[in-house]
């Protein structure tokens, strides 16, 4: 019984499962308005924080956020990075700017792209505004906004980022 056995180093068992993913009731309300070009945050009934995109709960308090707040498309740079290397399967060619942005009237940031700017001049506290795709291309996605471009407004001091009113920044 000394027949040499072929070493088994791997077996192939491809598995493919199909799911009907649902984003959630609150995200669905957000996405429905987003398709109409409206940015809708949700306010926590306890701590009053406004979340966008909303997920249905205030993670800090653990309660549903059902109070909806329409927000403008102006935001402040909370943090950013300049991507200098090509990312596999990403159609965007480097160098490009990825930024953490807080919309006026919101209390948490989301990630989006910045363009129409000098990458070396991008900075924390910088004011930006959304550049939207043409209306006929709008769908249930955050890339209805192509990117954010700088605004000619005074910078927001770091300690005020994330606490601006819906009416924006007076400087």
């Amino acid at each position: 019984m000394t027949d040499e056995q072929e070493m088994i180093s791997a077996i192939e068992c491809p598995s493919y499962l199909q799911y009907h993913f649902t984003a959630g009731s609150a995200p669905a309300r957000f996405l429905t308005r987003l398709k109409q070009g409206v940015l809708t945050g949700q306010r926590c009934p306890r701590c009053s924080n406004v979340y966008i995109p909303p997920r249905g709960s205030c993670p800090a308090c653990g309660v549903p956020t059902e109070d909806e707040v329409v927000l403008p498309d102006k935001a402040t740079v909370q943090s950013f990075t300049v991507v200098a290397i090509p990312i596999p399967n990403n159609p965007i060619k480097p160098p490009f700017v990825v930024a953490n942005l807080v919309l006026d009237g919101a209390n948490i940031s989301f990630i989006h792209l910045m363009s129409e700017c000098d990458n070396s001049q991008v900075h924390i506290g910088q004011r930006v505004q959304a550049v939207w795709k043409p209306e006929q291309e709008w769908t249930y996605a955050m890339d209805n906004i192509r990117y954010f471009r700088p605004l000619d407004e005074p910078d927001v001091p770091v300690e005020k980022i994330g606490s601006l009113p819906v009416t924006g920044w007076e400087g």
Binding site: Q18, P27, G62
Partner: protein, 352 residues
């Protein structure tokens, strides 16, 4: 060792499909309900949190982490998770309390299993080398188990239909049930085969939803001033994943767990058994040695509605409710996991 008390329980309706709701939206109402029963604000007011869910059902790695959004975890809390039914999250929380690491704990289980094709999804949880590539689904495995019972004369199709008829009848009093009603054994036997020898009615209807529970030391329960039941014993045992090595007509692991939990120490007035298939209730009743004096599945059990990853915890909750509200003094709750009753947990509850 600390005496463990159950002070609050809530479960959602068993919905065939929860619509647009995501998992966090399924969990929050149940957490709010149990916090309300005790008078707590959120998870900051308990010492430990443990949840049970299965990422396979959501089809996303680490999907359970999103559940934390329902807790109010700012500032950070002590939190843990089991990739199982939340009955095992309860077990972990009990260990924490018995070791003196916590005085109170929140436990919750949740699933939106309607997102995928559950029997097929579960087939991929099995032994990855020999079984998963065959895609043997959970219903087919249960059907093979039922066939063994029938062929060996250990149960009849009529016995199985009687389990279903009683479940549907009991579920008339359960507002969360998905299936309830008056069906005769003859009507059930007249239904066509689904996966022979199982008819559709022999299989628990899968449901989306969540359940939550708060436990604590008996001293803490008295401090909170809420009615409570004592969890006097709990144990769980698992059998080999090799189905061919198991006696599928018996549940040795359930019997051992019952011994470990001290089930034999008194009369069992009520039993809530997690039997997703009618013949499995027969196996479990025998393994637990339940007789005439025990009311089995007064809620209708999971044949009336099966909240994946929460039904085990709900069995404990159903017994708790009957002790606190219904004058029952001692009962047993059972939870199962894996194909053909592979892994079983037994908890004994007593009035305070």
């Amino acid at each position: 060792m600390q005496e463990v008390a159950i002070v609050a329980f809530s479960q959602s309706d068993c919905l065939a499909r929860a619509g647009a709701a995501n998992e966090v939206e399924l969990i929050m109402p149940q957490l709010q309900a149990v916090f309300g029963q005790v008078g707590l604000n959120n998870a900051q007011d308990v010492d430990f949190v443990c949840s049970g869910s299965c990422d396979y059902l959501q089809g996303a790695a680490f999907a359970f982490v999103s559940g934390v959004d329902a807790l109010g975890a700012v500032p950070p809390i002590k939190e843990s998770h089991v990739e199982m039914d939340a009955a095992w999250a309860l077990y972990e929380a009990i260990l924490k309390i018995r070791m003196g690491h916590a005085e109170s704990a929140l436990i919750y289980g949740f699933a939106k299993s309607s997102s995928g094709e559950l029997p097929i999804v579960l087939s991929q949880q099995l032994d990855p080398y020999y079984l998963a590539p065959l895609w043997v689904d959970s219903v087919s495995l249960a059907a093979m188990q039922a066939r063994l019972l029938l062929e060996q004369g250990l149960a009849s199709e009529r016995d199985m239909a009687e389990v279903v008829a009683r479940s549907r009848r009991n579920a008339l009093a359960n507002p969360h049930a998905r299936l309830s009603g008056k069906l005769s054994v003859e009507e059930l036997l007249a239904q066509e085969m689904f996966v022979a020898p199982l008819r559709k009615a022999d299989c628990a209807p899968v449901a989306d939803g969540a359940a939550a529970m708060i436990i604590c030391t008996a001293a803490k329960a008295r401090e909170w001033g809420v009615p409570y039941a004592l969890l006097s014993g709990i144990d769980h045992r698992i059998e080999t994943h090799n189905l061919g090595m198991r006696d599928l007509t018996d549940s040795v692991s359930t019997r051992l767990a019952a011994e470990g939990a001290g089930l034999a120490g008194g009369v069992v007035e009520v039993a809530e058994l997690y039997a997703p298939f009618s013949h499995q209730e027969i196996i479990l009743s025998r393994a637990l040695g339940l007789g005439e004096e025990t009311v089995i599945n007064p809620s209708g059990g999971v044949l009336a509605g099966n909240l994946m990853m929460a039904s085990g915890l709900s069995r404990v909750g159903e017994v708790f409710r009957r002790i606190v509200d219904g004058g029952v003094s001692r009962g047993v709750a059972h939870a199962t996991s894996g194909p053909c009753l592979q892994h079983n947990l037994v908890a004994v509850l007593e009035s305070a």
